[in-house]
């Protein structure tokens, strides 16, 4: 199981600023190990962020996103105390969901 994400959601000016740091190798499939064998690709393919059951951002990623991916965006409507959920799924079918409270 992958490590938890670090999520910061901050209310400002009627909107919410969301910053997410995920823990993931984001292996491209281009690299070789010390024996010269290719290291298989392992990367997050899909990310979605929901607030009150509504998707506020969804993303499809390729392996060109950096290791331990960072993501920042803003949405309107959320307020202090509300919760947001972030879910990622990688190309091996691993998935992780974390929740954060807007402050």
């Amino acid at each position: 199981m992958a490590d938890p994400m670090r999520i910061r959601a901050k209310a400002k000016d009627g909107g919410v600023n969301v910053k997410i740091l995920m823990a993931h190798e984001m292996e491209t499939g281009q690299r070789k190990d010390s024996a010269g064998k290719p290291i298989p690709a392992h990367f997050i393919q899909h990310v979605s962020v929901t607030w009150q059951g509504k998707v506020v951002l969804s993303a499809n990623w390729g392996p060109a996103i950096s290791k331990n991916p960072f993501l920042e965006f803003d949405f309107k409507g959320g307020k202090k105390g509300d919760k947001i959920q972030v879910t990622w799924t990688d190309n091996k079918g691993d998935t992780r969901t974390d929740e954060a409270t807007i402050n």
């Binding site: 993303a59 309107k76 799924t89």
Partner: protein, 156 residues
């Protein structure tokens, strides 16, 4: 002849079993997302093929897309990039990296109520143009910027 017929039947049976499993939600989430994740676009080796696979054709250049990225990236493995679209009705923002092994890096869907601006970090294999593709009201717009890389992000 009979043997061929038997093989065809067997292949057909396998395919319908797969469809049944998919319908019943028995397969990995990976398979469920596969429809959403544009395999062809993410496999494209250059910007033009990626644009074709996304159905973007030949997007118009736009000054209403603001891309924030460093001129020079010391470490190609972690390059902060941000894009903001001032085009009304922006539905999606995608990053394409011309000289990476595969061009399409990420595609973000922007629902109504979400600001048309995202920041993330990407890997650059070498000095390259980075394109931002915006879809707004069914039309595509693009802007680009060159980022110089001193150490690549895709080698080992």
């Amino acid at each position: 002849m009979d043997q061929t017929r038997r093989n065809v039947l067997r292949a057909g049976g396998g395919a319908s079993l797969f469809a049944l499993l998919a319908a019943a939600g028995m397969l990995q989430p990976e398979a469920a997302f596969a429809a959403d994740w544009n395999q062809k676009a993410f496999a494209a080796k250059n910007v033009k093929d990626a644009l074709d696979a996304l159905g973007a054709g030949n997007p118009a250049n736009s000054n209403d897309i603001i891309m924030t990225a460093p001129e020079i990236a010391e470490n190609g493995a972690v390059v902060p990039v941000a894009a903001e679209s001032k085009i009304p009705g922006t539905e999606s923002i995608a990053f394409l990296i011309a000289k990476n092994p595969t061009a399409l890096a990420a595609s973000f869907d922007i629902p109504a109520g979400t600001e048309a601006a995202v920041s993330t970090r990407v890997k650059l294999a070498q000095t390259t143009d980075v394109h931002v593709l915006v879809k707004a009201q069914g039309k595509y717009y693009m802007t680009k910027k060159e980022i110089k890389v001193t150490i690549g992000g895709c080698g080992g």
